[in-house]
Symmetry: none
Subunit: 141 residues, 4 copies
């Protein structure tokens, strides 16, 4: 099973709706496939122009390292030099903070990741989890 | 007036629909704003994973150089070294071929660009133009 | 179905054996998954040290563009500027020549790609095809 | 004496087996030659897609700096700015943590390095040492 464009649309619509319902700032949401490549992206009106790179950086780290943004942030707190060095090996494309959420199917297999940016990192992660749940999938924040 | 997420969704949906109606291969469509930054993107199921980079490269050149992909391709044919050097100045992110289409409002002001990839370059441009027309805007291929 | 390490080992062993049986120069073989990421690699003794980058570049282009190295080389011959620009968008990691071979399952779905380097590009492609066939998969050169 | 493909295969098979025997998570193992270039690589099923870059980063630092990952981590702890700057000089490709292990022959000459990733850094280093010992060589973790 691939994540696919239909599920990606559901995730993005539900994540944006969750952010609006909770009064968050305008969010941007990317869905990456299991290889770390974009399937779909939307940036809400009022968000700053660089949001694609940030959303992708959060989700890209989740896919490539196989762990959500919270786990990455903990790893970075324990060993900042390690995570900085890992990021260098990926050309600086990893943003190891909450808001990058790994997406798994019912069997635990990784289908991709969602990256949300725009509000606090914790709120970003909540919006991502809401989007993933709406698609009937499991998020690992 | 900004291009905005609503128009971007209309453009993407209509471009994908035009491709399907014409029997094209699975398309990928990006909408960039007037600064060359992604507003929305979708990659149809069955498209190869690298399509975001190609779609963005086509649209990015259109915005940054202020001319559509056909005009860029003609410029590149007249002076390949010039266009290659220009591309170097943009970090290699410009793909100067049809399928990158500049988006203008009724007054001729540039709102952004659309990049389509997946079929022949000419078909990609047709799908982009169909999407832009559906949003009531003017495309310059 | 993922390509997986077992199939990757079979592909590499069979591709190296095919090269030896045909009297080719020492080959290097990489297997990438459907996201363009390495699963396995071997460089035969006597091959020059830079072979990993070349093997990966051939296979990476096949995955990311969804076409084998021969198709990429034809595209590059028709429009050299296009392929050079596409490569720029992928950070210069694409090597569009024979020896990069797309791997499909029985249903035509892309599982990844094989990159072979060391002999002539056409011989490299033959060795890759032999490896892929040994794993019961379909190669698109 | 070069490390060669036969020893590289022995190292990888034994490192993966050691990880499995100890109940570690799925490992990825790269063997680099004395110039820091890949000879062989394998990524166990279930490992995240970015493991090649991490394994290589660990082994690359060991070869290029002539010290194992533990020594590099100590150096980084003493002078983080120094190691970060050194890493910049190598294009960000060095990951200075345990799991990168220098490989020496009986005379102490460096033949290359092994990089392992997937479990804790210390476990990664243990698996690498087991692989190197299985090939009759000396590891410096």
């Amino acid at each position: 099973m691939e994540i696919g464009i239909e599920r990606a649309r559901t995730i993005i619509a539900a994540a944006l709706a969750a952010g609006q319902a909770a009064g968050m700032k305008p969010l941007s949401v990317v869905v990456l496939d299991a290889g770390g490549h974009p399937v779909a992206f939307e940036r809400a009106d009022g968000a700053s122009p660089g949001r694609f790179e940030i959303a992708r950086g959060k989700a890209y780290g989740a896919v490539m390292l196989g762990m959500g943004g919270r786990a990455q942030a903990e790893r970075a707190a324990q060993g900042p030099a390690f995570m900085a060095a890992v990021n260098g090996a990926f050309g600086g494309r990893v943003i190891p903070v909450p808001g990058g959420v790994l997406v798994r199917d019912a069997n635990g297999r990784v289908l991709g990741a969602v990256g949300v940016t725009g509000d606090t990192s914790d709120n970003d992660a909540e919006a991502a989890l809401a989007g993933i749940a709406a698609a009937g999938l499991h998020g690992e924040a």
